[in-house]
Symmetry: C2
Amino acid sequence: MEKRVKKIFDNITKKPDVILIKNSAMPFIDDNFFYVTGLTHGIFEGSFAVLFPDGKIELVVPQLEEESAKKTNANINVFRNQKDLNNILKNLFSSYENIGLNFKGISLRDFLKIKNMFSNFDFFDISDSIEKTRLVKDEIELKFIREACRIVDIVAEKIPQIVNDGMYEYQLAAEIVYLMQKNGADKSAFETISSFGKNSAEPHYTHGNIKLKKGDFVLCDFGACFKKYNSDITRTFIFDKSSEMQKEMYKVVLEAHKIGFNTIKSGIKASEVHNAVLSYIQGTKFKDRFIHSTGHSLGISVHDSSARFSSNSDIIMEENMVFTVEPGVYIPGLGGVRIEDDVLVKGDGAEFLTNSSRDLIEI
Amino acid sequence: MEKRVKKIFDNITKKPDVILIKNSAMPFIDDNFFYVTGLTHGIFEGSFAVLFPDGKIELVVPQLEEESAKKTNANINVFRNQKDLNNILKNLFSSYENIGLNFKGISLRDFLKIKNMFSNFDFFDISDSIEKTRLVKDEIELKFIREACRIVDIVAEKIPQIVNDGMYEYQLAAEIVYLMQKNGADKSAFETISSFGKNSAEPHYTHGNIKLKKGDFVLCDFGACFKKYNSDITRTFIFDKSSEMQKEMYKVVLEAHKIGFNTIKSGIKASEVHNAVLSYIQGTKFKDRFIHSTGHSLGISVHDSSARFSSNSDIIMEENMVFTVEPGVYIPGLGGVRIEDDVLVKGDGAEFLTNSSRDLIEI
């Protein structure tokens, strides 16, 4: 992954001698550890990756991770205790003066420890450069994302056959995750959302002990994780017959989704995508019912960098960025509709990476 | 959850006026947000919990989380943009001078933002107090952990019926996760490990495209997450007939597991548990083949606090702590055996929370 490391250095104005990526304990694992090493599995708690401007990497890992670390071609340093670790780090950094750190991915406590160990060093925040680098996906990343998208498409197409009267939300969630893993997902990208009826009005409700009944929305938001890379899709169905209001909500969200997709191309601002979607919804009877951003960058993290399709985002779209497009309309007490797809930015438009049916389906 | 908040303040020597818990973007979500609010679902990215010495909590959440936040009895403040957020925080903190922060759960970048906003304030690291408080579980926590343990026991008992000749590792992982969710788990506590043959020698290998063959170890390490609380169990089986070497490895690990369990009681040091287990294994032919700690605290995080059964841990066991006991023996190229259970510390001993069979099972 020399290219990725070099690109990170290239994207920094005031260049540090080395960059240190540090994993803490779960959940505080910096995804960049996997980005720079190309490791596709494992956790690597308490591990370090030291990056050099020529693209080389030194890994510093506890004994527990020694076998797993051998799957990268980085140089591996194994520590058995804190003293070992200190010696290895001091050795690696002996001829340097300043260290780049991912300020967004390191805990304050870990930073203070490192600062204490290298009190004469300067520390630079290189998190913006890492985010910028990661926004544009390379070939291997796109291969993994496409595979994660292929898996959720298969599952999305099968949901209408799985859903049945009296089913509980948690049962549908179980079936979705099972199908993803049977089709090759390493795990769920995030906790599967499978919300029925009025619960679908809460964008981050997941699933519970609620039984499906006629007239319910069935909102499924799920993602597959494949070799650390994620997909993220939402489909909203209606159980049995839809009401006029439900049809209207669906129609508006689907149109908003089209508008979003059609706006995306290399060179435009991320905010333009959101504003196009938002201003359309604001002109309908569902004014003020779209309460989140239109999408987010997707990759080795589900929310890959802080880049969003939101009104205050000044990110410029570039070829090979991957974003979700996910407008929604939510009416507390009644329910919500969200349609979400993963999209690859191209020079003159965009390509859907997820392609399962977006038609209104009455199950 | 007033009691939990009061206990956190009680465990701090130099008391701050307020404590601020801040979630960043996934995966940097501070579990303490859920510990103090008692919220059992949701993500709450970018949300804040402000804790007061009398046990009261003010939540500061983006609009997206408003509905979900209503499930707590904390006071809710909703922000629509950065300006809103700044005003709410400035208002909440107007009459205070020092803020306690979880240095282990806040990113350096978030800390610098907050410090910039409240430049006259003193910031204290209260992460040790939070860890200390969370180590001892209350009644609600134990109820959720027991449920998470009940689920993995059901699944562990079923694994021998699921495993079949030529099965892939990822298929077994899919079945395990499916069974957990069908039996009430909200999600997997962590990526399920289902490793066959020599892969079982890597403690953090998860699962891949490897086919089961006769004579393989089948190591399954999995956990259920129920209302944010986790269980964590490992069972190692042998497919078809075990060799003498495999039998011997299993026998040693099972004996080590018994020694670990029997050592645990209120009042002893965590290091004593590890040392008892380690010194037993070091006296067998599997000397130096036990390469991790004997266990970790378990709760709302899978690795709940940094407390471990390890040689350098000076934590004193107390009633109602919950730990895993998980000795293992690993031989690269051949495979590994690990037996893991969740254990509740009692005054005069310990209680197994997971109880599925620990006998050597040839599938």
